[in-house]
Amino acid sequence: MPLILEKKQLSADVFRLRVQAPLIAEERKAGQFIILQVNDGFGERIPLTIADADPAEGSITLIFQRVGKTTRLLSELNEGDNIAHLVGPLGKPTHVEKVGHVVVVGGGIGVAPSYPIAQAMKQAGNKLTVIMGARNKDLIIMEDEMRAIADDLIICTDDGSVGRKALVTEPLKELCESAEKPDLVIAIGPPIMMKFCAKTTEPYAVHTLVSLNTIMVDGTGMCGGCRVNVGGEVRFVCVDGPEFDGHKVDFDNMMSRLKSYKEQEHSKSCKLDAAIKAKEAEMAQ
């Protein structure tokens, strides 16, 4: 069972874990993800992207946002605890080559998976511009890491508490119109952000990749739960992706599919909330 080597809370709901996983650390490439399960018996399998890896130490870094029951349980684990199951690396790696000017757009927690891709693109000799977006200053993650590799770093927040008060699509559009028009855009973040990044670049014919994070069970092509419509064809995110041509993805269908289990997930999360509160009340007494 993979051991948690380090845990750090990055913001109110965002956590970083360094986890022992030597084989994954050795094999993983930019763009790939893992699937983990916090509990053995009745636990759920969830996909998480790999934010970083250290093959020498045999560890990988996971960054996740506490949103549902499983991520909540994961956030309760500490250094020295084990994660019941962790499998990967899954998905096709990002195709990395020198194309010229690469713009990486990371929104919210999506900055984490975009980091290894940005790193690989930079190493391949590309000029790298990074656009990071979040609701506010507290939700900006991995700023130092990105600053260390980017030729240009643009930060946007919804409330203007740091960087520009703008959506990430604003600087993206400006770049498309500038003399340094991007040769490739990679956008990773909430589906709605990826949808509008793709819409922004489309009129300028700038090739735009998006990395999708859909509902999955096995992550090896067996269940088909992750299927998306790309250019009129059914593709599986786990084996055909997770990266696809953003101009061809049917985001509306993908977004409705992501809500398939909204009610059940909400009720599970509420029950867990109630259980945690009851336990806290008990301990306070």
Binding site: L23, I24, H85, D218, C223, G224
Partner: protein, 500 residues
């Protein structure tokens, strides 16, 4: 068939009486006597009870029933049943032991050829294999009157398990050779055991968190209890086979690296069919459309049927359409009922006669209230404003002129389309080969359907790499996978011995 005929207590009482009367006879049973014995019905849970629980439907023959059923075998000389069995079990031999009340003797004979008797006794399509050619059935001109070989196999395996006398197969002294087995379904389990027996070190790599392959994620609890599969896996570990779960060969480690970097002398690929086919009709990506693989995996492997306990959700369905007519379609329909659906329809393009599912499964599904919409085919799936399934448009078919094969193929009736309101659609029309291994293994030859090409010894285009089961055959059965595994294991053992 009414449930009275399968009520366990009635059947047990009748069998006790019958066995007494046979035992009190002076003269031994003649062939004519044996043929006069009626086939023993399988004791089962009543349909109205079982459709709301996950427990096994068929409860297994009682010892008296098993003995009587075994006496139906006339021990014919030419033994067609053995030929009909993909792993060549000495069927008359083990049946004779059951008839004589020597149940240990029976299971010992079965185990010489089959590693998974409790599984195969339950899920093998015996009516197409050993029982199809049974002389007793032939004489009665009715395959349903054949000796119930499968039920007897299951009886012997269950008897042994309940006795707890289970013995771990002997393993020869260590050879120092290492074999990697990819996947942990029926083909892989067979290879692992057969190779381990020769004293080679064996590691099984499973992508999921729990071993057993399709027997764990696919076939539901009510048809194959998971505790039985777990026990078969335990046998492997007791033999010294190492099982590595959460390991995707091709991703966690490349297949060829297992040999180059990790020192494995041979690799067996038994990764199964696992890539669900869809119909390519409009609306197939709507919320509420699932592959049978996904639906069944959520329920079986992830235990979503334990709604209060499991973290994995399953779609709450009221009215379900299942597309397809195989065993997986039956499993999906019956699972949906058990999860609380009020109405479940099987939509199938041909008629009952062409349905690939086992007769027994179709029959069970009918008893439980699954509706069969035959000679019908989906045209498109319609969604509501939220992108959720609200209806399916279906077209009626009729049987046309016989084609080249003599089969009357279904032809659509123009203008016969109609709407059926449903909230869930489960697509159970089969699997294609999973691309993971072929995409990540240079030099591995596959056919145009993506199935791995092997020679008569199950060897692939790469030296030291063998393959078997659904990844070679396309979607097939547990027993065919086992048969392939047996052949591959023999070839691997021979190859390793020659490398001494």
């Amino acid at each position: 068939m009414s449930h009275e005929m399968t009520d366990p207590e009635t059947l047990a009482a009748n069998a006790r009486e019958k066995l007494e009367s046979i035992r009190s006879r002076e003269a031994p049973l003649t062939t004519r006597d044996r043929r006069a014995i009626e086939r023993q019905e399988m004791p089962s849970q009543a349909p109205e009870v079982r459709r709301s629980n996950m427990c096994e439907v068929a409860l297994g023959l009682t010892p008296e029933q098993a003995q009587i059923e075994a006496m139906r075998c006339i021990q014919c000389k030419n033994q067609p049943c053995v030929e009909g069995c993909p792993v060549r079990i000495d069927i008359p031999g083990f049946i004779k032991q059951i008839a004589e009340g020597n149940f240990q003797g029976a299971i010992d004979i079965i185990k010489q050829n089959s590693l998974l008797p409790a599984v195969c006794g339950r899920v093998c399509p015996q009516e197409e294999q050993c029982q199809a050619v049974c002389t007793v059935g032939k004489m009665a001109k009715d395959v349903d009157k054949a000796v119930s070989i499968g039920r007897l196999e299951r009886f012997a395996a269950d008897w042994e398990r309940e006795q707890g006398t289970f013995e771990v197969p002997e393993v020869k002294p260590a050879t120092g050779k290492k074999v990697a087995v990819i996947g942990s379904g029926p083909a892989s389990i067979t290879v692992a055991a057969d190779v381990r027996r020769e004293g080679h070190q064996v590691t099984v790599f499973e992508a999921f968190h729990r071993p057993g392959g399709v027997m764990i994620y696919g076939i539901p609890e009510f048809r194959l209890p998971k505790s039985i599969v777990d026990l078969e896996i335990q046998t492997l570990t007791k033999m010294g086979v190492e099982i590595k779960t959460d390991f995707v060969v091709g991703r966690t480690r490349k297949l060829t690296d297992l040999m180059k970097k990790d020192g494995y002398d041979a690799v067996f690929v038994g990764t199964g069919a696992g890539l669900p086919k869809f119909m390519n009709v409009e609306g197939e990506n709507l919320v509420g459309v699932f592959s049978a693989n996904e639906y069944l995996t959520r329920s079986n492997l992830m235990k979503a049927y334990e709604k209060e306990l499991a973290d994995t959700p399953i779609y709450p369905s009221r009215k379900v359409a299942v597309l397809g007519g195989g065993n997986v379609a039956m499993d999906s329909a019956r699972t949906a009922l058990r999860l609380g659906a009020q109405e479940v329809h099987i939509i199938y393009r041909r008629t009952m006669n062409e349905m690939p599912a086992r007769v027994e499964e179709v029959h069970h599904a009918q008893e439980e209230g699954v509706v069969f919409d035959l000679l019908q085919n989906p045209v498109r799936i319609l969604g509501d404003d939220h992108g959720c399934v609200k209806a399916i448009e279906v077209q009626r078919f009729e049987l046309g002129e016989p084609d080249a094969s003599g089969r009357r193929s279904p032809v659509p009736i123009p203008g016969s389309e109609f709407m059926m309101e449903v909230d869930t659609v489960i697509v159970a029309i089969g699997n294609e080969s999973n691309p993971l291994i072929r995409q990540t293994t240079d030099g591995l030859t596959v056919n145009k359907r993506g199935n791995i090409i092997v020679d008569d010894n199950c060897k692939t285009s790469i030296d030291g790499v063998y393959a078997g089961g659904d990844i070679v055959l396309g979607a097939a059965t547990v027993i065919l996978a086992m048969g392939e595994g047996r052949r591959a294991a023999a070839a691997i053992n021979e190859m390793l011995a020659s490398k001494a």
